[in-house]
Amino acid sequence: MAASRVFLTALIGAVVPWVHAGTLVINANTADPAPRAAWQSAIERFQVEHPDVKVELNLYDHESYKKSIRNWLTSAPPDVVFWFAGQRMRQFVTPGLLEDVSDLFTPDVIGGLDRSSLALVSVDGRQYGVPYQYYQVGFYYRRDVLAAAGFAQAPRTWPELLRACERLKANGVEPFAIGTRDLWPAAAWFDYLDLRENGLEFHMDLMQGRVAYTDARVRRVFERWGELVERGCFTRNHASSSWQESQALLYDGTAGMMLIGNYIVANFPRDVRDRMAFAPFPALRPDMRRFEDAPMNTLHVPARARNKADARRFLAYVLRADVQQDLNRAMLQIPVNTRAGIAPDRFLAAGRELLSGADGLAQFFDRDTSEDLANIAMKGFQEFMLRPERLDAILETIERARLRIYGAGTISVR
């Protein structure tokens, strides 16, 4: 772990000796080159503005970070931690591990934020973290491949989606690229089918264990999904490929579309990039409002942090439009502060339009529900995609896990 850790103790500007020289320890999960550079320059600027603060940045890779944050929060925490909005944050707020930072959310700050984002860092009307970026999830598709199948643009309704699937197959193209080896790509399909079919409120009730997985409304989601599975719309061998492997099928024209997050854009090969386009997941019901998956990255102050004063100053700094603009331009992501500009990129522009116009945001299946349940449910999704006839047994397995984790107390329609 020590190898993945980089200490940035460079001090910009002279420390004025009579000012309290606090050390601000920040633990981050942004060890990839682009985010790392973006954060380092943001921190350098913070130190120029606050010469009395000495920042120590520790970088970890994603996986080891996920495992160790639990240890830090309960034992010797840093002053600022990187984490995720929604349920991921709430699970630390409930046992009192995160500091209430509601005072940073002045009316002016709130006015600048995406309107759905405030709820995602709030518990009982108090805020426990600061959001700085998010990204959209939707269809990334080959314009040329869809055009060859007679579609000038991505399907916008369910019948169109089914027709696109059939036409692409007739053209010898596998309609939807997906790799379910790591399980979560299948959850994107579940999320969107549920959000489009049953709406955000139901989805969040389900995610928080208040609805049975054997509920008729959950079954409707699988009926829709089953229509695609039975038609053979998903790439074969998906159970043994990662999402990275499956995206190659999109680039070589074997597949036509892929439901994935905007991080895929960074991987587009130069010669295919111009032929790629983004489209939101189609509507299933005309009367349903539009909800989207938009995983959001956040900063928090651990309740046991030593230097909370400087940590708050840093969080306030990260809420600012100019800071979010620089950070997200460098990382090619969308700032949550709507006053911050975005990098000139059509996928980012499409994402911002999609998210800021949405009626509500979810965080993604494995962030919205407990890790324990997510792990079991996503295996069920994978099994359903291979063996749709086992649906009853799959739903019962998930439901047993839900009862164990969340207990009874359900609102259920059979």
Partner: protein, 277 residues
């Protein structure tokens, strides 16, 4: 007194972790917050958990399949134990798979068995058989990993047998020849009988390797599709670090420990019984 340092090390690095795992297995803990004592609830749930039985059965299947390694290893060792020119090179070549990292072996076999571009399905096609894409199949994924594991394991058994054969006194074989022993009888009653101590080591090494198999699962299947190719060690890891159920993971670890100890005690007991005059 002279045993003290060893005892302390053993206590700190073996006894303490085992005791703390056993203790943890009686709790419900998500890594943050308080641990709740739940008695034997984790075990009761475990013995009612279909995935646990899948993992256990897969471990046993793995164990049975790994019996091929000693057989293959012995055959190779006898073949390579001849005094022919170039044998040294041949031996090193056969030993190669064991030197490779398991991660590399796993990756190579994952490509070999890949359902889209892997050589395995093409091989089947050449033989006129239908493609099975083993890593996508709940029936074959486990065996694809076992095959990957057998490759270095056979090499390891081979080297153990080779050292055994090297220490075999030539006088015994000559004496047997004088007594008229030949061919398979010579091998079975003289050579094989003399290899008994090696036999024990080989059996132990293979049993332990089969039961603690983890690397190939992480690299090749992640226990999938769904849970079909999971094993106890991986299920423990998954429950602990992905499901954040530290107590439940500890319960799986305890069962695995009991299983391994049982098999090792059985082997030791047989060895000691055989060594008695």
């Amino acid at each position: 007194m002279l045993l003290a340092p060893a005892c302390v090390l053993f206590g700190v690095f073996v006894i303490y972790p085992i005791a703390s795992t056993l203790l943890l297995s009686l709790h419900d803990w998500n890594g943050v917050g308080a641990r709740t004592f739940v008695g034997l609830r984790n075990y009761r749930e475990l013995f009612d958990d279909p995935v646990f039985y899948t993992a256990l059965a897969n471990n046993l299947r793995w164990l049975v399949c790994y019996l091929v390694a000693p057989l293959g290893g012995l055959a190779l060792a006898i073949f390579l134990n001849q005094a022919l020119p170039g044998m040294r090179v041949a031996r090193s070549l056969f030993f190669m798979p064991f030197v490779l990292s398991q991660v590399v072996v796993g990756l190579v076999f994952a490509w070999f068995f890949n359902g889209r571009f892997g050589a395995f399905d093409r091989l089947l096609a050449t033989l006129g058989l239908p493609a099975i894409a083993p890593l996508d199949s709940e029936r074959w994924a486990l065996y694809a990993m076992v095959v990957a594991g057998l490759w270095p394991q056979t090499a390891y058994c081979m080297i153990l047998y080779l050292t055994g054969l090297a220490t075999l006194p030539a006088a015994i074989i000559d004496a047997a020849r004088v007594d008229g022993a030949k061919g398979f009888a010579l091998f079975r009653q003289v050579v094989f009988a003399q290899l008994r101590p090696v036999q024990f080591i080989v059996a132990m090494v293979c049993a332990v390797a089969a039961l603690r198999s983890f690397d190939y699962v992480v690299i090749m299947t992640l226990g999938g599709p769904y849970n079909s190719s999971t094993v106890l060690a991986y299920y423990m890891y998954e429950q602990t670090f992905l499901g954040l159920r530290y107590g439940y993971g500890a319960a799986i670890a305890s069962v695995l420990l009991a299983l391994m100890s049982g098999i090792i005690v059985m082997l030791m007991w047989r060895l000691m019984r055989d060594e008695r005059p």
